[in-house]
């Protein structure tokens, strides 16, 4: 979300020089502008959010919204620009983006760094830009958002941000974060189970992971057979469509009436600030001598400075976050349902033609997903009739290649983002 805005600056890290109130207001206008998103597929506009009226239900009346425009000045981040006509289509990332980025342990590591910055001088001399970063992050991630704002989820009923995010991940995907809960939440366990699983009832998509793995397996079968014109072809586009539709329905059930829309916006926006911090050699990364060539390596080096270790598969998780978000939105928009074009996931537009962006991204997602989760997708049983044979050996290793073993923090990752 904020990465989208950051990309408009001459240097993306200039976003952290913008006043946090302006960034908060920008999020408010981004919510209100969601109806500008063009119609994609055959789904009615905004139906993927669970209700076509969810934006209007929760947005601020336009006149009130205009009383305090964000006025982000792209040339001079510290200034205010009177807003012109703006209705650029913009949609926030899918909740899976927040889950995957947070699974790296980035939130805990940055929280620790911020704590050290605001409490003392143990991180050495920091430049003014880094202190501005710290202010933006503290204001937007670690305190309650302004009253009545769209991201204002904090209340006496749900005090803890970690709990709120874990609750959403659990309901949507039945996924827990791989690292333990921080000590900030007083209800992180106990006889009745963790707080984020309390009172959810049956509203949990427990079959999400199995359906997704099955979809990926079927899509990979399609990739394997896309040029096959003579042998048996196990590809079944309609079954791929049925799996996509099952996932669409499953996620849609959690969104009925517009549930989780505000949470999703708030969480992906927050995690995008974390992602942006390590996406480039930002002032913080430079000040803490954590410059590197990838977000995962920067995060590992930042973690080292505060005695923490990110998730062992951070590299895949960072790279997976964006394409998985696009794919799940595509599924929720019904682009791959039966009757639409499920085969477009693995077939190019022209027979034996160049792969589409969608083909390339889906193949990449499968590589990264099996590497990040350890679930082997790219292997198949032989489909020849007769006695079952031994599984065919996989064509590639389970894990994607990584640079030569780097800092020990990345290799010894058993704590998985947990404080050490």
């Amino acid at each position: 979300m904020y990465r989208h805005l950051a990309a408009k600056f001459a240097s993306p890290s200039d976003l952290f020089l913008v006043h946090p109130l302006q960034l908060s207001r920008w999020l408010e206008t981004a919510w209100a502008a969601a109806p500008n998103v063009p119609v994609i597929g055959t789904t009615p506009a905004l139906a993927q959010l669970g209700s076509p009226t969810v934006i209007a239900d929760f947005d601020m009346p336009e006149a009130l919204l205009k009383t305090l425009e964000p006025g982000v000045n792209l040339a001079r981040p510290g200034d205010f620009t009177p807003p012109g006509r703006q209705n650029t289509p913009l949609l926030w990332d899918h909740l899976i983006y927040a889950y995957l980025v947070e699974s790296t342990g980035i939130y805990e590591i940055l929280a620790k760094i911020l704590t050290r910055i605001v409490r003392g001088e143990t991180l050495g001399r920091l430049r003014p830009e880094t202190l501005q970063w710290a202010r933006v992050m503290e204001e937007l991630l670690f305190r309650a958002q302004p009253n009545f704002s769209i991201a204002g989820l904090h209340s006496s009923l749900r005090r803890d941000g970690d709990c709120r995010r874990r609750n959403a991940y659990w309901r949507m995907f039945a996924f827990d974060l791989p690292h333990p809960m921080s000590a900030s939440c007083g209800c992180a366990g106990g006889a009745s189970g963790p707080c984020w699983k309390a009172d959810v009832g049956n509203g949990v998509n427990t079959a999400f992971a199995s359906r997704l793995n099955e979809l990926f397996t079927q899509v990979w079968t399609g990739f394997e057979n896309k040029a096959n014109q003579v042998g048996a072809n196990a590809t079944d586009a309609q079954y791929v469509g049925l799996l996509a539709e099952a996932l669409d329905d499953m996620l849609g059930n959690r969104r009925q009436g517009g549930l989780l829309a505000r949470e999703e916006l708030s969480f992906v926006a927050g995690l995008s600030l974390c992602h942006l911090t390590v996406e480039f050699d930002t002032p913080l990364v430079q000040d803490l001598q954590a410059t590197a060539t990838s977000p995962a390596e920067r995060l590992a080096k930042l973690g080292e400075r505060v005695g923490m270790t990110p998730a062992p598969r951070s590299r895949e998780l960072f790279e997976l976050a964006e394409p998985m978000s696009s794919l799940l939105w595509g599924i929720e928009l019904g682009l791959f349902n039966p009757g639409a074009a499920p085969e477009s996931l693995y077939l190019p537009n022209v027979p034996n033609g160049p792969p589409t962006t969608l083909n390339i991204e889906v193949n990449r997602i499968i590589d990264l997903w099996q590497s990040a989760t350890g679930t082997r997708i790219k292997t198949t049983m032989p489909y020849a009739s007769g006695v079952p044979a031994a599984p065919r050996p996989p064509a590639q290793p389970l894990r994607v290649p990584t640079p030569a073993p780097g800092p020990p923090a990345l290799a010894a990752a058993s704590t998985n983002g947990h404080r050490t």
């Binding site: 990309a7 063009p38 119609v39 696009s326 639409a340 074009a341 962006t357 969608l358």
Partner: protein, 169 residues
């Protein structure tokens, strides 16, 4: 012996076509016709895809939908979103159009009487205005897609409301 056969000479033929066969013939002619694209401006007619197979329209649409989705999510390398607004029958592009923009396809759900309407219009980066003929002010716009001369998808616009409400409500 059947006699529905031309006997030659100047007598008009008396071929009786089976209705199903006729329908199939018409469909086949329409398919061939759809591969022919009238040239722009000079009235020449050329094959839309003179070499190689014709892209699958359903898959092409899904792939383009996915490109729009990546664009609205702000992905690097994806077509980018443009701000636009309506001015009478035209669409005014508030951001600069990509310099290589050549044409735009504007889609509208139309009205109950017209049904969905899609219109191809010239996209001139020096003008930043799309002149619509078939899509009228009482039709909302569901999508605007901007392409270059090679058909590369460059940018897209927002959905826009109708500027005149003829529904009487």
């Amino acid at each position: 012996m059947a006699t529905n056969k031309s006997t030659g000479g100047s007598t008009p033929s008396t071929i009786a076509l089976d209705a199903d066969l006729a329908a199939r013939l018409v469909a086949a002619l329409e398919t061939i016709g759809s591969a022919i694209d009238s040239g722009q401006g000079n009235g020449t007619r050329a094959l839309a895809h003179p070499t190689g197979p014709v892209p699958d329209p359903v898959r092409s649409r899904a792939a383009r939908d996915y490109d729009v989705l990546r664009g609205v999510l702000g992905r690097a390398g994806a077509p980018h979103g443009l701000s636009m607004h309506r001015d009478k029958t035209d669409i005014v592009v508030d951001n600069p159009l990509p310099v290589s923009a050549t044409y735009a396809i504007v889609e509208s759900p139309g009205t109950p009487s017209s049904g969905p309407v899609a219109e191809r219009v010239i996209a001139d980066p020096t003008v930043n205005r799309l002149n619509l003929d078939e899509i009228t002010q009482d039709m909302s716009i569901s999508r605007v897609e901007v392409f270059d001369c090679d058909g590369r998808f460059l940018a897209f616009g927002p959905s826009l409301l109708a500027t005149i409400d003829f529904s009487g409500e």
